[in-house]
Amino acid sequence: YIQTLRKLFNESHGIFMGLQRSEEELAGKSRKAHLVQVSKNYRSVIRACMEDMHEAAGKFDPALQGQYSTQVSILSAMELIWNLCEILFVEAATAGPLLLRLLDWVRLHVCDVDSMVREVLSSESPSKHKLFWNVIGNTQTLTELELKWQHWHEECQRYLQDGTFASSPHMESICKILLGDEDAILEKKELMTTWYHFLVTRLLYSHPTVKPVELRFYAQSSMDLFLGGESSPEPLDMILMAAFEFEIHQVIKECSIVLSNWWFVAHLTDLLDHCKLLQSHNLYFGSNMREFLLLEYASGLFSHHSLWQLGVDYFDHCPEYGRVYLELHIERIPLSTEQKALKVLRICEQRQMQEQVRSICKIMAMKALRNNRLGSALSWSIRAKDAAFATLISDRFLKDYCERGCFSDLDLIDNLGPSMLLSDRLTFLGKYREFHRLYGEKRFSEAARLLLTLMTAHIAPCSFWMTLLTDALPLLEQKEVIFSAEQTYELMRCLEDLTSPNPGSAPFQDDDVETTKVEMLRLALARNLARVIVKEGTVEGS
């Protein structure tokens, strides 16, 4: 049934966000109307979820159907409680409208409404009844309403006492019910499924202009009378009772204990907080109740592979601990695809969570490197502006080149663009590749100049100098003289720097191959020097 609950989570997230955003805009009456609308929206989402679940239950095997029915009844209970809270707290219905709302509430939630009795009642003295209903609906003052109702009540009383209905016990009991006689109403107990149905019926016939503060007494006595010591109140009964007693914190506390997920209490508490009903209480463990419940709810979302995105927004609206919670949770999201990693990264970047950005990019870059996707690895380093990792990738490329004698992934190296500047090693890689390109295009003097710059400007790492000098060999061996005298001296100096045992420079490998190479280089450099001195000596200028 998680599937159908997903709809509940997603839609309520939308309502939640709308509520947080509309905070500043409204005031006074329109604000209250808006909050009532938000409450109704939440309830309609619960009802839609119930309908979906009901529909889905029919398609499954009987084993699962039990689970679905349980879920449906839990949702039904949630809607029942929420509806009552909406009437009493959000709308804060006053005497008069209060009873009407409660009547609607009972009608909506109690399926076996005593339609038969109602039919009989409505057929008796219809004009009086019509008047009665109209009166409550009007915008008369409470006192006027009370007077009219009193008058009507006394008339009924007279009929009973005069024995007008003596011939029919049925009619007599109806009259007694109309008078609000508790015993008469209780006789019809089996037609009323719950004590709150009984409560509202009582109020309808005895105290239609009940005030909110008076509810608690009627509620308590109704429950006692209805249950009559035969059965004890269930958790749902206790929650409703707490609501009638206007103990908001008690309602939330009981709901938290009874319901298995935080969804209900988190959203309801947030709404009540917007109604400014929770300000006075400070909880002993630091943050206020609203934040605590939202944090719990959102944390639960993070264990789901895709609902975690909703959790982010909830954390955003927890001013005290939201950010810390987000930082902890966001690092634990499994990054199964690059697209998912990108979404997580975007969330972190939007909230200036630099550390998380770096760590996620590093994880993705390492994964790419292990899979030999050097371009992807570089792309992640660029996103994180991670120079160290870019250096690592470049070293990998250079290692590949040394081993194989050619570059892999030329499409990448040739098109580095400004990202080349991210790290020195990367710049070197780009420039080195450029050297090879120039050589390939036979632009030798440019290639020579570049090669020299790579060493003299210390762009090249010392470990690579031998390779660069070896690359210079074909240029030195050309028929045409390419390196000038000064350049040749520079090259010689580089070679000496490399071969002499200097503390601090890269260790020079003293084996046969290397020695031969050095010998060849020295020879080539000397020959080039000789040629160039002659050339420069004979030509005017240099």
């Binding site: 998680i2 599937q3 997903r6 709809k7 997603n10 997230h13 939308g14 966000m17 709308g18 264990s303 789901h304 592979h305 895709s306 995105q309 909703l310 927004d313 199964s336 695809t337 690059e338 697209q339 998912k340 990108l342 979404k343 975007r346 939007q350 292990r370 899979n371 030999n372 996707r373 050097l374 371009g375 992807s376 570089l378 792309s379 660029i382 996103r383 892999s408 992934d409 499409d411 990448l412 098109n415 580095l416 663009g417 400004p418 990202s419």
Partner: protein, 339 residues
């Protein structure tokens, strides 16, 4: 440990097209016709023909599903397992997400995080052709340029043309962004003028390219505040372009010249519109997308989502209908796009 085993591929009916009411928004909610379980995230999908749908998975598998219209069911018709994979000695699975799929019946081209390009034929069990390591970075999207040429975009900001007739495993042309190599996530080609290509980047920028000339985009349009996931030219009215993004917005780009004949947009509540002066670069080409003619210089851009929250991951447009899906697990259908 929870493995996502609750992903599904679904077919919906968007309701009766003939029932437009007075306010015209929608008439009848979309309802589910059939669905089938799918292993891994659905990264991309496209209809191969009236009945068959090709789906790309995050596990690297490419599946053809068949929609049986008579009894409204879906069945898996053919599957290419490990169409995309990494060669990794350490892990056993080694799958790489297949990020894009494009169809031209009976040919199917797929690209993935492994930088691989596959060419399949619907009736053949094995791949017709595979280009391993076509790209050193991730290929994010693919589309057909011509029947024998495809366009790909990757995560180092390159747009590449591949000629499938040639046997060499190199692109025939490479284009790249001018400045930073921002990853490109989506690509689409103008339906009539095949030299005009649009791409969307990780920074939300829309780039228009003329692939006949130069290696850089013709124009860069600052659009979204986060990754642009998809870009689509309207197939029959290509003066209109649609883009959607991680920032939760869906933009409608309108370069049709008779903008003044559409006063209605000014009165639509909940839509934010802006004029963008299309002041860009070099050429004088006919299409409005490439033109810098001052009299035709205005482009109308509209955000079609009034209360944006989570990412819009995908969209599609056909005739007067626009469909898009969000990370809030919702699908929206707009059947009166040009009203």
């Amino acid at each position: 440990m929870l493995t996502p085993c609750d992903n599904r591929v679904s077919i919906w009916s968007a309701g009766d097209l003939g029932n437009a009411g007075l306010n015209g928004e929608y008439h009848g909610e979309p309802h589910l016709l059939c669905d089938i379980q799918h292993n891994g995230d659905v990264m991309d999908m496209q209809f191969l023909d009236q009945e068959r749908l090709v789906v790309a998975s995050s596990t690297g598998t490419v599946t053809i599903f068949r929609h049986h219209q008579n009894n409204q069911t879906l069945s898996a018709n053919h599957r290419w397992e490990k169409a995309h994979y990494h060669v990794d000695q350490d892990t056993s699975c080694g799958g790489a997400a297949c990020t894009g799929v494009v169809c031209n019946n009976p040919e199917i081209v797929t690209v993935g995080e492994d930088g691989r390009i596959n060419l399949f034929r619907a009736d053949q069990r094995d791949a017709v052709r595979t280009i391993d390591n076509a790209d050193s970075s991730t290929l994010h999207a693919v589309t057909f340029l011509r029947t024998t040429e495809i366009l790909t975009v990757n995560s180092i900001g390159q747009l590449k043309i591949w000629d499938l007739r040639q046997q060499r495993n190199e692109p025939s042309q490479i284009f790249s962004l001018a400045g930073d190599r921002v990853p490109l996530h989506c690509v689409d080609r103008h339906p009539n003028q095949q030299h005009i290509v649009a791409t969307g980047g990780q920074d939300g920028m829309l780039s228009i390219w003329d692939i006949r000339q130069g290696t850089m985009p013709v124009s860069l349009l600052n659009a979204h505040e986060a990754e642009m996931w998809e870009v689509h030219f309207h197939p029959s009215d290509p003066d209109h372009l649609f883009t959607c993004s991680e920032d939760g917005s869906l933009w409608h780009w309108d370069t049709s010249t008779n903008v003044s004949e559409k006063p209605s947009f000014l009165h639509q509540g909940g839509r934010s519109t802006a004029y963008l002066s299309h002041s860009t670069i070099n050429q004088s080409v006919v299409s409005a997308w490439l033109s810098n003619d001052p009299t035709k210089d205005r482009m109308e851009i509209t955000n079609l989502i009034p209360n944006q929250t989570l990412s819009v991951n995908s969209l599609d447009v056909l005739g007067p209908c626009l469909v898009y899906g969000t990370d809030a697990e919702a699908i929206y259908v707009n059947r009166q796009l040009f009203a």
